[in-house]
């Protein structure tokens, strides 16, 4: 669905990507993780056709995003981290945007904003950042595009909204869609994403399905000093050590995204060897 080959991209002084390769498929919700400034947003913008590769190719749904062909634009939606919505009633926002997206579904839009507790008769002018974001997320989902990119969607959402956000995504996702969510709030999305893509220093550091991760790695609390010593990653916790080890006994544990991320950033080679074995 999305193929990126040998992507080179940089801003005036700063190189971001020097030969990045990535393939994203339909039927997955990708969690795009990475430190600040590693290029998560830049990558999403290259996919959406908002920035152009300096070298290499980006292909989305068979199109070159940078050409911004209407057939491409009507099947992709991006919810950026920073956005501007004009001061107008929700009704007008829908009226001016929906016609560009043939698969837009008004019932769905209603359901999503209702789930988010936003009355349809409201005006954007009087809304907080979080509320506006919820309107934009609802609009993006209701457009039913094959590709949906979201940059830090849970930033600015209150506690209730994060739960509503997960419900809304779970309800709208299907095997023909590819959803990419970049985030730092790993706890918000732990149960939602089924593929983890970590980007670091301009390249893809890690890219695996959650199934593969829990088959190969075990996340648990350990009291066994030998096990703790040999762990791929360990972190003292209130009781025992939180560890990442090879999954040798076959039982699958729950993925701890935060622990996995730290393990990969701090002991990447060891983790990599588990997956290449």
């Amino acid at each position: 669905m999305i193929q990126i080959q040998n992507l080179h991209f940089g801003y005036r002084r700063k190189k971001i990507f020097t030969g990045l390769n990535l393939k994203l498929e339909a039927g997955h919700i990708y969690g795009l993780l990475g430190k600040n400034g590693t290029g998560k947003s830049t990558l999403l913008k290259n996919i959406a056709g908002l920035l152009f590769p300096q070298e290499g190719t980006v292909s989305v749904l068979g199109y070159t995003p940078g050409k911004r062909q209407p057939a491409f634009l009507q099947d992709i939606f991006m919810v950026p981290e920073e956005f501007f919505l004009p001061d107008m009633p929700i009704e007008h926002l829908v009226r001016y945007h929906a016609p560009f997206y043939p698969k837009f579904n008004d019932d769905q839009f209603n359901r999503y904003i209702t789930e988010f507790d936003i009355p349809r008769s409201n005006t954007l002018q009087k809304m907080s950042y979080g509320q506006k974001k919820k309107v934009l997320i609802s609009l993006g989902l209701a457009c039913n595009t094959s590709v949906l990119l979201m940059d830090e969607p849970t930033n600015g959402l209150d506690i209730m909204s994060k739960s509503q956000f997960r419900k809304v995504i779970a309800g709208s996702f299907d095997e023909n869609k590819c959803i990419v969510i970049s985030t730092h709030q790993v706890k918000d999305l732990e149960s939602l994403i089924d593929r983890v893509t970590i980007i670091d220093e301009g390249r893809i550091l890690f890219d695996q399905t959650v199934d593969a991760i829990t088959r190969k790695l075990s996340f648990h609390i350990s009291f066994d000093s030998d096990e703790i010593k040999q762990a791929l990653f360990r972190e003292p916790s209130l009781r025992g050590n939180a560890v990442v080890t090879r999954n040798t006994h076959g039982d699958e544990s729950k993925l701890d995204l935060e622990l996995l991320y730290k393990a990969i950033v701090l002991n990447g080679n060891a983790i990599e060897s588990v997956f290449n074995a």
Binding site: R166, A170, F173, S191, I193, V210, F219, I221, K254, L255
Partner: protein
């Protein structure tokens, strides 16, 4: 639903479904929530619920009627009991035993407490 336990989410959802069946909230031959419905309710990826349902089909606890949905199998009670019992004996009981050993407790002490609990919650 809070996923606190250390088990993979798809297995925790399997436990949840077995519990509904064992408590007879979901009855034999009744339709259970669709993959999407359960995913929304539990706020998880539909692929994860799909994996749970595939697993429970292998265990002959639920079955799929093409185009209609998933149903509680006639063998569900027996099979979910066996599945949960094995799981409990292998995974939970050793931890209970460990704590009991640590505190010098005897299994006999548990009996009256267990009776009281049953009376309070399931009478």
């Amino acid at each position: 639903m809070q996923f606190r336990e250390s088990q993979a989410i798809y297995l925790q959802i399997a436990d949840y479904v077995c519990e509904k069946i064992l408590l007879k909230e979901w009855k034999v031959e009744e339709r259970i929530p669709s993959v999407r419905e359960l995913a929304v309710q539990l706020e998880v990826n539909p692929n994860t619920v799909m994996r749970t349902y595939e697993f429970l089909q292998q265990q002959e606890i639920i079955h799929n009627q093409r185009g209609i949905g998933y149903f509680v199998s006639p063998t569900a009670l027996k099979n979910s009991l066996t599945y949960r019992k094995n799981d409990f004996v292998e995974k939970d009981l050793p931890q209970v035993f460990r704590t009991m050993y640590l505190l010098g407790m005897d299994p006999d002490e548990l009996k009256p407490r267990f009776e009281k609990y049953k009376k309070q919650h399931f009478a």
